[in-house]
Point group: C2
Chain length 416, copies 2
């Protein structure tokens, strides 16, 4: 394995934690964690699951798999429990798919910083295709075929395409028409689609049309999800995957279960108890999801307003909790501060008191003036403030949210 | 990835669970799970850790790493917290070491069934070296050099050697002199030693001398451990690794942390809370470890008596909860029942009502008449019986333990 380093978002998170602990007043916009308290009924389920100290089935107990199947059923994806595997996060599931399915990986540029290193660990070549003007999370359909042809010319073998719906890092959601177009290309080129839908329940406006590629290309789409983002359980590590019905899907699912059995055995029993409850989506969970998405949207829109005010162009966020500004329009002004690329831009942002994740760490062009702002750690310093933020119709008006947004705005105003 | 199948011990476990659920009276000797209740103070810590829903540091929080370092300190291995990585089980840590360190893998024959598949997933060739007469868990030092030379002749590149101390599947512990001999070979041949010490606290007689290769070859030994076996927490998935001090160790540790950041992010926060408490080893944990090892030893010795009585030769168990009988002495009698190899032998055992894990599934010679009996699920049908077993000075005299041992004995008596 060459060029090993820690996943850059986690590395930045540790750096910021250390600097903050040392007293530096840094606003942390570099880490996609939904910093909210664990919802009380989830805590109860964790404690209730403590008795599950025996190894359970590798793919998950029948109960949790049925609950996850139901979750997908309610999202227009009829699903049997045998199509489901749960795991300690969606990361290991994505890795196991990569270890199971042959061929190289097509991914959007920029993309979440773990897809490419995982591909390399699995012996795959990552092939980055620029995202369209309209949204992130998908390769531009107008460029995809030529990138596939070019990769083949170079001896690569693109067989898997990753979509992120909604997207990390751009906070946008590819529209249904584009999903259909990508599915058609996947059919023509015989690609497996891995649809990372971990932010699906963090679409800001519940009326936004959502189309999963698993609805369009059911035989060739694996869907991954988890509770880290929608229910703020990153530290509990609960993920799930849905495999296609039919022989190809079953072949992939059994390969993933095989990898699971050799690498992580099973999702911890107490976490299976939590997952069974949460994916079952009783009323209180649906309400928690609703208010969480409202909060994420309100704050992301506000940060979007700030970055646009500072001179960036930026896609308006519609899902997840990110904005991805592009400071190309003010390149000349930035040049006066020796800011010429994504690395120097993110360093300057840190000097101005805002930790952001440089675009090149997400596979983007190093020369571009882009970075990711995660907007999900701005909801308060403690559980009480964070619960207030969740409860508020207009959270950005709360003093504890407003003050951190003001600090961010002040940092951006000093950029040029 | 070719020849994918589920890890055979987990697959057998699921098969037996299904048959038992269907009413078949099978005694399950095929799965290395310590079937005991979660110790109450551990359950309390899990609940207390529920608030840890944020992503923590990849390698583990400072508190849990300090606790694990202390655990090793108390075992003659001076350790700093920076040498420690915790993870959801020791399996992912072993996998991450394999993905980090180049070269092929030397392992004992037979060995725990996950080493070889993990090696293949990491692009390594597994090189199995027969165990010595005296014990399992180690390559026979008298054969090791010639196997290394032969592997090199074939173009392989043996660079890592796995030791299991005490051993799964033989339930034995390599003596200090043999560890020294193996460490000397590792020095000569420049091998990294991966010492799997997950059963270290399940040595039956506390006076048994225990020598870790990390004491003899500190710069070249990675130690893995976990709470699955010693504290019956297989379903909670808590593992830890100790890396050597110095530059090579730090290079491996940072590589493992990098892999961790891409595959599993971190040990779930509530489990870190549990691990910090348990590896801290307060008095009640030490007592729990003591009575658990006593119980495991008493029942393993009894199953050893049974298999020897049925005509096998078998190393007396001294650690973990396994016996590994060899029915070669009665090959002719078994032949009359069409039992000619490890597969047909294990099938016959299942027909006789005892699920065992065939030796060839552990890398052993398919023609040998050997299998693994895990003896750790014989302690009772419910938590009350299991706690009685733990409390008993002589657990094999308890009616609920005696009756299952009698059923096992009856199965073996019908073998010939």
């Amino acid at each position: 394995m060459s060029g090993m380093r820690m996943s850059p978002n986690l590395a930045l998170n540790q750096l910021v934690a250390e600097r903050q602990a040392a007293g530096e007043p840094i606003v942390h916009l570099g880490f996609g964690e939904s910093r909210l308290p664990a919802f009380a009924p989830l805590v109860e389920r964790l404690a209730a699951g403590a008795r599950r100290n025996a190894y359970g089935p590798v793919a998950g107990s029948p109960g949790v798999r049925a609950a996850v199947a139901g979750y997908f059923d309610r999202r227009r994806l009829p699903t049997g429990p045998d199509q489901i595997v749960v795991a300690p996060g969606s990361k290991p599931l994505l890795m196991a798919v990569g270890l199971t399915v042959p061929g190289d990986l097509l991914l959007p540029r920029p993309a979440w910083n773990t897809y490419a290193p995982q591909a390399r660990l699995a012996g795959k070549h990552p092939i980055a295709v620029p995202i369209p003007e309209e949204c992130g999370g998908v390769p531009d359909p107008a460029l995809l075929r030529e990138h596939i042809r070019a990769a083949r010319t170079l001896g690569h073998d693109p067989r898997v395409m990753v979509l992120t719906l909604p997207d990390n890092p751009t906070g946008t959601l590819a529209p249904p028409a584009m999903i259909r177009e990508l599915c058609a290309i996947a059919e023509e080129e015989d690609l497996l689609i891995v649809s990372d839908e971990i932010y699906r329940d963090v679409v800001h406006d519940p009326d936004t049309p959502y189309l999963s590629p698993a609805e369009v290309a059911p035989d060739r789409t694996v869907v991954c999800t988890g509770l880290s983002k929608s229910l703020a359980l990153g530290g509990w590590r609960i993920g799930a995957a849905r495999f296609p019905a039919g022989p190809w899907g079953e072949w992939i699912r059994s390969g993933v279960a095989s990898v699971a059995s050799e690498i992580w055995s099973t999702l911890p029993g107490p976490m299976q108890e939590v997952a069974e409850y949460a994916f079952g989506e009783p009323e209180e969970i649906r309400e928690r999801l609703r208010v969480s998405a409202r909060l994420h949207g309100a704050v992301a829109r506000e940060v979007h307003r700030i970055v646009v005010g500072a001179g960036a162009r930026c896609r308006p966020p519609t899902g997840a909790f990110y904005v991805y500004p592009d400071f190309e329009p003010v390149r000349e002004e930035l040049d006066k501060h020796d800011v010429t690329d994504s690395a120097s831009l993110s360093r300057r942002m840190l000097d101005l008191g805002a930790a952001v994740l440089a675009g090149h760490l997400l596979g983007d062009e190093p020369g571009a003036l882009r970075f990711k702002c995660a907007t999900s750690m701005l909801y308060g310093e403690n559980a009480e403030q964070q619960e207030m933020s969740l409860a508020a119709e207009n959270p950005v008006a709360l003093p504890h949210v407003r003050s951190v947004l003001d600090r961010i705005e002040a940092s951006f105003q000093r950029l040029l």
